[in-house]
């Protein structure tokens, strides 16, 4: 399938694609400023250490070195920042908290000089006791990750539990069940591994500062920098070139404040481009230990879900506590369950700060809960698909009593997946099948401004603060403007990523942009249309009520004119343009457990068929089916790309990815050699994606957010298929050959699944 026009529901070639296949697209590391210095971070080779002394003399003696910055060179107390809790210092103060926590930064004329000097900064340190696992962090005598001084008034301040979230309804204790299934599950620590390493550039800019970053939320970064530097927002210009992959890892400020201080101190532009190894030490997904107790009636109805999830976050909170809260919240799944109790804890540790990562805390609990349901189905002698269908919420059901009601015909999605995998057909000998459902709350609040300029020739410029990090937001927003204003798609330019030019947008996350920014752009286009209607009424001497504008045309009582004709006549000889503004708000709901109900739910069903090599434990995904309810696909090809990409990314944490630590808290598999992600040789033999479209979403033309759904439930579907094929039960990820092989040796006598 290639381009079939550019309208809504067509799949034109990606806006910005030409620059990406010719090498012309400038990612942050490709931005070259004259006279820029190169920065390099200095770390210590353990997780937690008390910094006794830093000797910078040898480093400063390296030719070309202009600055070696430590905490002592910064305003005191050293500024701290963080989207939820301002706990992360610009640079480590007195103590490192994790392997990779920088204690100094060098700026030099060349990259070589910066690297050489970084190696010559002598740090005297004392290694301190540290915690790297949930169990160690929760032990009664565990060393504290955060100084209680940073948590005033917090009753948990003398523990490593940063926060505890309780959500539920009904009475779990009183719920009656014929069968109770209770197990422990674990989810590993994995990293985003965007192929573009994070990069940061800062330069003095008049009486302010300009900062380039591969950041997903430029406006949020602008606020952080303005506060830390004591500048008005108008003097902090954040430039955010389209990131080379974000996946959540580029949402929040990391080293931008540090690079800004280096630039202000040297009076020169300073660039810091992380190595891949350093990105492993900058961002990761929270690991989790999850206990699930599921009660069921003999007919397969779920009587209760009792879930305890301990998420292992890092040394600074970043957005991790929100991940824990929002990710665990829909943990009982898309089912109508009378009694649910979910207790989720945010457990600090001396490890890389965990942050948002595609799925935002949902894949962890989903892995445990969906696996537990598969177990329950087997014990009840019920088809796992049937068990899910018996419990699945129907449109309009208040399946989470205090939230948005079920907003899709989810059974269609499930049945489509079952049909595509051939669920009812006999499983080939030696193969096994598994199925799982995933659900995720969309954005709970939002604020997206946009501006649309209809230029004198009918071409269009859209200003939108969304980041196009690969999801294709530029294309979708351009399609909306083209549709509404009647311009060819290649006459639409979308300007993003510059806080001095583009209006405010809260963030690019939670698969929100098509819905929230999409609606904002739609409203800006409608604002332009309203002005065009006034123009047409004036030019043609008719009443405003007799004029309507839609889909690129102005409709008058006696005829229909292309927008551009009305525009030219209306602007007259002096020319000019029509400017429209749009705002899309989703307000906070203070009483809601998440501060707001879901704008939409992402819903996915994944079904897989596997074979397992009994000799090696290696899993082959023979078929992988992923079906998502997307409301309406504005660009079906991009939807397919996102869904299939998410599915394969999900195979990463399912089959191979995990950090390995040593006793000092060092990550032993930093970088691409020892940390494996899926390659073209790790693909399912057959991967099929499909979508359900009922135009029932809150976004433009009935769209919903998508792009995380297909990752949510990959792991439980694969593990169920492995169990179906071999009888081996595994409750820890990843399902590496070694782990599968051990499970094969330990498996109980094979009990075939009987489907009545």
């Amino acid at each position: 399938m290639s381009s079939h026009g550019s309208g809504i529901g067509a799949s034109p070639k990606r806006v910005g694609g030409y620059d990406r296949v010719t090498g012309q697209h400038a990612y942050v590391a490709d931005v070259r400023l004259a006279d820029a210095l190169h920065a390099k971070l200095v770390t210590v080779p353990v997780a937690r250490a008390r910094i006794i002394a830093i000797d910078t003399s040898a480093a400063l003696a390296v030719p070309g070195v202009r600055c070696v910055l430590t905490a002592a060179d910064l305003p005191q107390p050293v500024p701290r920042f963080g989207p939820q809790h301002e706990d992360r210092p610009v640079i480590a103060v007195g103590e490192t908290k994790y392997h990779g926590d920088p204690v100094a930064a060098v700026a030099a004329e060349t990259k070589d000089a910066a690297e050489e000097a970084a190696g010559l900064v002598r740090i005297e340190y004392e290694e301190l006791p540290a915690v790297f696992t949930v169990a160690a962090a929760l032990a009664p005598d565990a060393p504290l990750v955060q100084d209680p001084v940073l948590r005033p008034g917090d009753p948990l301040a003398s523990t490593n539990v940063f926060n505890q979230h309780l959500v539920g309804w009904g009475d779990v204790e009183a719920a009656e069940a014929d069968l109770v299934v209770e197990h422990d599950y674990s989810f590993p620590m994995v990293t985003h591994f965007a192929i573009e390493p994070h990069g940061f550039i800062a330069a003095p800019d008049g009486d302010g500062i300009a900062v380039w970053s591969s950041i997903q939320h430029p406006n949020w970064l602008q606020k952080v920098l303005a506060r830390i530097l004591g500048l008005p927002l108008s003097k902090v210009r954040v430039r955010a070139p389209d990131p080379g992959g974000g996946f959540g890892g580029k949402q929040h400020a990391k080293y931008e404040p540090l690079v800004a201080f280096l630039a202000l101190r040297t009076g020169r532009p300073v660039r810091l481009v992380l190595t891949l190894d350093e990105t492993f030490q900058a961002v990761r997904r929270a690991a989790a230990a999850i206990h699930v107790r599921t009660g069921l009636r003999s007919d397969g109805r779920i009587a209760f879900q009792d879930i305890r999830a301990d998420y292992l976050v890092g040394a600074y909170v970043d957005i991790a506590d929100r991940v824990v809260n929002k990710g665990s919240y829909p943990g009982a799944g898309p089912y109508g369950i009378p009694a649910v109790r979910i207790v989720a804890r945010t457990v600090l540790s001396h490890t890389v700060p965990s942050t948002a990562f595609r799925g935002f805390g949902n894949p962890q609990v989903n892995w445990a809960v969906e696996s537990n349901l598969d177990d329950a189905a087997r014990q009840l002698g019920l088809d796992p698909l049937e068990l899910r269908l018996r419990n699945l919420a129907h449109r309009g059901d208040a399946f989470i009593p205090f939230d948005t009601h079920a907003d899709g015909d989810w059974e269609q999605t499930v049945r489509r997946a079952a049909e595509l995998i051939g669920w009812d057909s006999p499983v080939p000998p030696g193969h096994g099948r598994g199925i799982a459902l995933g659900i995720k709350s969309g954005p709970t609040t939002g604020l997206s401004y946009s501006t649309v300029r209809l230029l004198a020739d009918g071409s269009v410029i859209v200003y939108a603060g969304t980041s196009d990090m690969g999801q294709g937001a530029r294309t979708v927003l351009a399609q909306i403007a083209a549709q509404e204003l009647g311009a060819p798609l290649d006459w639409v330019t979308v300007v993003m990523g510059d806080t001095a030019v583009v209006p405010y947008d809260q963030q690019t996350s939670a698969s929100r942009s098509t819905v929230l920014m999409g609606n904002s752009v739609l409203r800006a286009c409608r604002d332009v249309q309203r002005q065009l209607a006034e123009m047409a009424a004036r030019v043609h001497g008719v009443a405003l009520e007799q004029v309507s504008v839609a889909d690129g045309f102005v409709r008058l009582p006696d005829r229909e004119l292309p927008i551009v004709e009305v525009l030219k006549a209306g602007l007259g000889r002096l020319g000019g343009e029509v400017i429209g503004n749009g705002v899309m708000r989703k307000e906070m709901e203070p009483e809601h457990p998440l501060g707001g109900s879901a704008a939409f739910f992402e819903f996915n069903c994944t079904a897989v068929e596997v074979t397992v090599d009994e000799g090696t434990g290696e899993i082959t995904i023979v078929r992988h089916v992923t079906v998502s309810d997307v409301g309406r696909a504005i660009n079906p090809l991009q939807v397919r790309m996102q869904d299939e990409g998410a599915a394969i990314m999900g195979l990463g944490h399912t089959l191979m990815e995990h950090y390995i630590f040593d006793e000092a808290g060092r990550i032993r598999n930093l970088g691409a050699i020892d940390y494996r992600v899926p390659t073209s040789l790790d693909l399912p033999v057959r991967l099929e994606s499909a979508i359900v479209e009922n135009a029932d979403g809150p976004g433009p033309y009935g769209s919903k957010g998508m792009s995380e759904g297909a990752l949510l439930c990959v792991a439980p579907a694969v593990a169920a298929a492995v169990r179906d094929a071999t009888g081996a039960v595994i409750r820890d990820l990843p399902l590496s050959p070694e782990r599968v092989w051990h499970a094969l040796q330990e498996r109980p006598a094979r009990v075939p699944l009987e489907v009545p």
Partner: protein
């Protein structure tokens, strides 16, 4: 005792253009392309030859330019992603990458294109397995592997029809 020079002159052809430059002896071909020649289309990620973002063609072979010292490229003909289009017109391969939706964030794409270009130069009719094998060293974290493979096969088919 002789002192090792810190830089050496080399001559190479890059995208058909002859270049004579002085390079640091410890700098890789990737460093020189990006930093000295201003050809930023070739991307840097892992620096250990595992991710493929820096793939270029050296004398017709796909090479991880992060693993090749610039002085080793003395006398070589190097093609980078900037050398694929002709007079602003995309090659069949580039065109198919866009048409099939192989490009998401795009950061790995220059490397994918160069690996695919080298594959097609030696194998005009690759199978799916051939493509997967040839591009196995080019990571795509957006995981557009299905679409990348479709694009390479489509480009091969289109070339055969020409």
């Amino acid at each position: 005792m002789t002192t090792m020079p810190s830089s050496l002159p080399i001559e190479l052809t890059v995208n058909g253009r002859r270049r004579s430059i002085e390079v640091e002896v410890n700098h890789t071909l990737l460093d020189v392309l990006r930093d000295d020649l201003g050809l930023a289309g070739t991307k840097e990620c892992c620096d250990v030859g595992e991710c493929g973002a820096c793939t270029v063609e050296v004398d017709g072979r796909a090479v991880n330019s992060c693993l090749m010292l610039a002085v080793e490229a003395d006398g070589a003909a190097v093609t980078t992603v900037e050398g694929l289009a002709t007079d602003g017109r995309l090659s069949l391969l580039q065109d198919e990458f866009l048409a099939k939706g192989a490009v998401q964030c795009g950061f790995c794409i220059p490397g994918q294109l160069m690996a695919a270009h080298a594959l097609l130069a030696g194998n005009a009719h690759p199978s799916v397995a051939d493509v997967h094998e040839a591009l196995a060293g080019n990571l795509c974290r957006c995981a557009g592997y299905e679409q990348i493979t479709e694009a390479v096969l489509a480009a091969a088919a289109a070339e055969a029809e020409r």
